[in-house]
């Protein structure tokens, strides 16, 4: 359940970002080439998972857990770092509406790129948007393949998120700016880091007290640490602001 949820939330965040690009290009330049770009990117991502998925079964389980643990730790800590910096005000919150307007302006400025009835500008942009945002999700799904049945559960979570976000996006035809993206990134960062610590530890030969139950304890520990970091950084930022105001005044 924990695994489906982590995969669902990670996929939802990336799909919201890809949807913003696809909608901006589609509304500005027409849908035909955009649809083909999205389909080509989804095909490339499926081929990536299908090609690398079975290869994972050939790697010894200890090595696999160590590599998977490392990748999840790196992805998780990167998401968590960004979420903490945003929550404490050091980095502005991601604004999907602003990204949407910027993409629309760029798509309008770009000249016509029609060849053989295809708008290659629209195709390339939608392909890149979906493929690049989707690669991280594809790797998260693949890394969950390190557990028995994991890849299937992670794929279910990812597919559900892609369908739900895409359907909502098509219905409203606007970027989903009301999705609490930073909160989702925070949750995903915590979950990925927790799995990374657990599986990386197992791969390194660590014997976890309470077996799988240790996952809950690691998650609780990391959540408390992250909340303390947000509070400390927010306070530090306010102090820096006050000092700067005193110097300026």
């Amino acid at each position: 359940m924990f695994l489906i949820l982590a995969s669902f939330l990670a996929s939802a965040v990336e799909t919201v970002e890809a949807l913003t690009i696809v909608l901006a290009v589609g509304i500005t330049r027409g849908w035909r080439s955009v649809r083909l770009g999205v389909l080509a990117a989804l095909g490339a991502l499926t081929a990536l998972v299908a090609a690398l998925g079975p290869a994972l079964t050939l790697i010894p389980i200890g090595v696999l857990r160590l590599v998977v643990g490392f990748l999840l730790l790196v992805f998780g800590m990167q998401w968590l770092r960004k979420a903490i910096l945003r929550a404490s005000g050091f980095v502005p919150l991601h604004d999907e509406a602003a990204v949407f307007e910027r993409e629309m302006a760029l798509a309008r400025e770009a000249g016509p790129a029609d060849r053989a009835g295809m708008d290659w500008y629209a195709f390339t942009l939608s392909f890149k948007g979906v493929f690049l945002e989707g690669t991280e999700v594809a790797f998260i799904v693949l890394t969950f393949g390190g557990t028995p049945g994991g890849i299937k559960l992670a794929a279910i979570g990812a597919a559900a998120a892609v369908l739900l976000v895409s359907a909502t996006g098509v219905l409203v035809s606007r970027p989903l700016s009301r999705v609490p993206e930073n909160t989702l990134k925070f949750a995903v960062g915590l979950m990925l880091t927790t799995f990374g610590v657990f599986w990386g530890g197992e791969g390194a030969g660590v014997d976890w007290p309470g077996a799988d139950g240790a996952l809950v304890a690691i998650l609780a520990f990391l959540t408390v640490c992250s909340l303390i970091l947000v509070a400390s950084l927010s306070r530090y930022r306010r102090q820096q602001g006050a000092v700067a105001a005193l110097r300026g005044g």
Partner: protein
Amino acid sequence: MKYLTGFLAFWYNFIIGDDWTIAVGAVLALALGARMARSHAGAWLWLPLAVGLVLVLSLWRAVKAPDARM
């Protein structure tokens, strides 16, 4: 050559991301964890603490150097 550089840059950005200290910290944390596990020295306690330390270090760098934030 241009494609090779682009390919390598893609993987560097994908795995190393915004801050290289996270990837290096993760490698060190796991390597030391493996060593501690072999000598039965409470490696299960070390790993979550190490992750917390790497996060603190990475955030501190980001706060002190605005270029390292994104």
